[in-house]
């Protein structure tokens, strides 16, 4: 993996910018960014609940994929345990922000503000990461993958049995963001304009994801981020140049767990506000790994695009499928088609574009740049060639 990721990092310098703000470097980038923002505004205003639902799910999934990318993409520590940390974050949020018990036996909830439960979800997940990190990080490669895999199963057991907080196998209600009288749970007016639940979440998630992406991008360009990448590329070499391996790995583990906790709290909160322990299962963890691989390893943009591909595409295919959803349809169903297309696209990407969606986009961008340069060179030659002609005429 380290060779592939090194290539990806190198290509980021010349090709596709690594964060949204990187787009500001060129005129074309600025147009692209502005176009993207206008598109987001249009979706917000006119996209309707279907598109907003898909976008919101993708944004939360992108946060989780970003957290996995810190650990596995940038630091090279293969982890399958992301859903464990997401679950820890989600149940912290549920405990602090969930509703007070109504019936005897209902799980506890303190009904606190989002300003408490959302950061706390990240902090408790990070502390849990700090607790399990020292044991897990003694290992690497497949061995670490197996240990983190075990975390998923330990988590499932804990979540099913800690009924007072998790509700046990029956599941529980998770908090919906609210700010004073404003609650995301139902359409609420602001300045006389009625915004739907999905629009409120969109307004919360868009800046939150942008901030996370920018933060991860900046950290990865800092001393700590370079240490993560040095550990990934060559542990011995990193130690020789003075990187404290334990400190670097632990920092990555804690940082990743923090983001996973926040993503988990939001994943449980949206769109249903209800989750059972089986939500935090291995299949979901593998989906995040797939999102990271398909999107692009060690890339902020890759995390976002991978989440769109793995989580958004099946939802979009299902939502806008042309196949009727009815008992009278005895052939291929919408769900079948979605699963087939999704599987097929993943196979095609792995076969023909192993650096992921981001690698594909970088390749296209690079081709356009080369085309531009050639055109400029040709234009220059023509101009040079035409001058004497003009002079002659």
């Amino acid at each position: 993996m380290s060779n592939a990721t090194s290539k990806t990092t190198r290509s980021a310098v010349s090709g596709f910018p690594s964060t949204p703000l990187g787009l500001l470097q060129t005129a074309r980038g600025r147009v692209l960014l502005l176009g993207g923002l206008i598109a987001l505004c249009l979706v917000f205003l006119f996209g309707g609940d279907n598109w907003l639902l898909i976008l919101n799910v993708v944004m939360i999934a992108a946060m989780a994929t970003l957290s996995l990318n810190i650990l596995s993409g940038y630091t090279g520590l293969i982890s399958l345990g992301i859903t464990f940390f997401m679950g820890i974050g989600a149940y912290t949020a549920a405990w602090l922000g969930g509703p007070h018990p109504f019936f005897p036996g209902d799980p506890v909830g303190l009904n606190l503000s989002i300003f408490i439960w959302l950061p706390a979800a990240g902090v408790v997940a990070a502390l849990t990461g700090a607790l399990v990190g020292p044991t897990a990080l003694r290992l690497k490669g497949f061995y670490l993958a197996i240990v983190t895999l075990a975390l998923v199963f330990i988590g499932l057991y804990l979540f099913k049995n800690a009924r007072a907080i998790t509700g046990g196998p029956q599941g529980r209600i998770f908090p919906t963001p609210s700010f004073g009288d404003l609650s995301f749970s139902s359409p609420t007016p602001v300045f006389g304009v009625l915004l739907t639940t999905n629009q409120w979440y969109f307004l919360l998630l868009t800046p939150l994801l942008a901030l996370m992406a920018l933060f991860v991008h900046n950290v990865m360009r800092s001393r700590a981020g370079r240490a993560f990448q040095a550990v990934r590329d060559n542990e011995t070499g990193a130690a020789i140049i003075g990187v404290n391996l334990f400190q670097a790995k632990m920092s990555a583990f804690i940082f990743s767990s923090f983001l996973a906790g926040i993503a988990g709290a939001l994943w449980a909160s949206y769109p249903g506000g209800y989750a059972e322990p089986n939500t935090w299962n291995l299949i979901l963890a593998i989906q995040f790994v797939a999102a990271m691989l398909v999107g692009g390893v060690a890339s902020v943009w890759g995390s976002i695009l991978g989440a769109a591909f793995v989580f958004g595409l099946p939802l979009a295919l299902d939502t806008f499928s042309l196949i009727p959803q009815s008992t009278s349809n005895t052939g291929l169903t919408s769900g079948d088609l979605s699963a087939i297309l999704y599987g097929l696209l993943i196979i095609l990407f792995m076969l023909f574009e192993p650096t992921g969606v981001i690698g594909f986009i970088r390749r296209v961008t690079s081709l356009i740049q080369r085309f531009d340069e050639r055109a400029k060179v040709k234009g220059g030659v023509k101009a040079n060639a035409s001058e004497p002609v003009e002079l002659e005429s």
Binding site: L21, G22, L24, Q25, R30, L33, L34, L37, I38, L40, C41, F44, L45, D49, N50, L53, V57, F103, K160, G168, P169, Q170, G171, I173, T176, S185, S186, P187, P189, F191, V193, L194, L195, T196, T197, N198, Q199, L203, P271, G272, G273, Y274, A275, E276, N278, T279, L315, D318, T319, Q325, S326, T327, N329, T333, S334, G335, D336
Partner: protein, 421 residues
């Protein structure tokens, strides 16, 4: 790159975002249709009322449960529409394939919630649980094709029949009180989710009520395909009666595996654990016919002395002639009758808004479903929202239509009578 252009760009974008947001026009209508109060899902000009259906139409639960159950609902409303609809309004069903996946269910719910007056079906315990908070926020009634007793606490959930928890209690009432087996050695294998927990709760209550000697409890994941550990555990415990809170594929796997290791207790199947399709499996059919009972509800298929059954069979001939005898079809048909009762009451009250539908549901009291199920009771408190507490214990018999033969007749056990919700 300097930070200034970046900040300028971000502030500019956020301003654009905020300005455009102000122009948003909210939705929310209250159409007047003469004296009829309406909001979502009612088209007063086309005279239609739309109902949502959230059911698995693909995946492993589709063929044995999702499709026949939904066809039951379709057949009933085809007949209603053919006879003029409800107060002249034709019922239109908007169906979505949930794939038995809670996330897909939530997405489907969000897609169609503003197009429908209520949901006439939401199939599955984990899937329905996923939309409980949403339905409460949206004030929309959901008819649940699951008998999870937890849902009786939810004011917007409509249950059809006796909850799983009471099914287990009634099954052991039959064994202890009707058959006279004192302190039987019993065990349970349950699915490790909300559905399984409901069965387990009933089992624990039955232990206390009937003095059962519990010797083994085992669980499995819904995705499991091998059941050797569970079968071996129950064999080692020596349980005489083993209750299965499972889905049909898992029930088949458990019974077959247990037989392969030489363990053949008497199996008691929770109603969703049985599907007629299991009798097509060679070897398993004999085991089921000799060693298994099913605890459930409903008139025997083909018994035309029951008015509801006679009506259902006539409608099948007209609207779905290929339909084979199937308990889930019967459940769906019965469920549609309850939905019809809610809609009819709302139309009678001239209020088919969501609030009007809730009022209609809360004031239904008794719903006569023509004997397909016992008369169902509804009210506004959790205990009143448990529609029935009686069950029938059936043997499995491939020679009869529907493959189930009543052993006990319809009865309510003493434990189920007293259970609180």
């Amino acid at each position: 790159m300097t930070i200034r252009p970046a900040l300028r760009m971000t502030i500019g974008a956020l301003t654009c975002f905020a300005i455009l947001a102000v122009f948003l026009v909210g939705c929310g209508t209250n159409n007047g249709g003469g004296s009829l109060k309406t909001d979502f899902g009612v088209d007063t000009s086309a005279k239609t009322i739309s109902l949502g259906i959230l059911t698995p139409l693909s995946g492993p639960v589709a063929a044995p449960i999702g499709i026949p159950l939904t066809k039951g609902i379709e057949t009933y409303f085809d007949a209603v529409n053919a006879s003029g609809g409800i107060d002249g309004y034709k019922v239109k069903l908007i169906e979505r394939d949930t794939q038995y996946d809670p996330q897909v269910e939530v997405s489907d719910y969000q897609q169609i919630k503003n197009q429908v007056a209520m949901f006439a079906e939401s199939l599955g315990t984990p899937t329905t649980q996923a939309i409980v908070p949403l339905s409460a926020n949206d004030h929309i009634l959901v008819s649940a094709a699951t008998l999870d007793s937890y849902l009786a606490r939810e004011p917007y959930m409509v249950l059809i029949g006796t909850p799983y928890r009471l099914q287990v209690e009634n099954a052991f009432d039959y064994i202890v009180k009707k058959l006279g087996v004192q302190h039987p050695k019993t065990g349970i294998i349950y699915q490790d989710d909300g559905y399984g927990q409901d069965g387990l709760t009933g089992y624990k209550e039955a232990m206390a009520c009937y003095g059962l000697k519990n010797v083994g409890e085992a669980t499995y994941e819904a995705t499991d395909t091998t059941f050797t550990a569970q079968a071996a555990q129950l064999k080692a415990s020596g349980a005489q009666y083993v209750f299965l809170t499972a889905i049909p594929t898992a029930a088949a796997g458990i019974i077959g595996t247990a037989h392969a290791i030489g363990y053949d207790p008497h199996w008691v199947l929770q109603s969703p654990a049985f599907a007629s399709g299991l009798l097509q499996v060679k070897g398993l059919n004999t085991l089921l016919e000799h060693e298994a009972w099913v605890v459930g509800q409903g008139a025997a298929w083909g018994d035309t002395s029951v008015p509801g059954m006679a009506e259902m069979l006539q409608n099948i001939q007209k609207y779905d002639p290929g339909q084979q005898p199937d308990g889930y079809f019967e459940f769906g048909y019965t469920e549609a009758k309850v939905t019809y009762a809610i809609l009819k009451k709302a139309f009678d009250n001239h209020d088919v808004t969501r609030a009007g539908l809730l009022n209609a549901f809360n004031s239904l009291n008794n719903v006569d479903v023509g004997g397909l199920y016992p008369t169902l009771h509804y009210g506004s408190a959790p205990n009143q929202r448990v529609p029935s507490r009686d069950n029938t214990v059936y043997s499995i018999d491939s020679s009869v239509a529907g493959n189930l033969k009543s052993l006990s007749g319809d009865f309510t056990g003493s434990c189920a009578e007293q259970s609180q919700f």
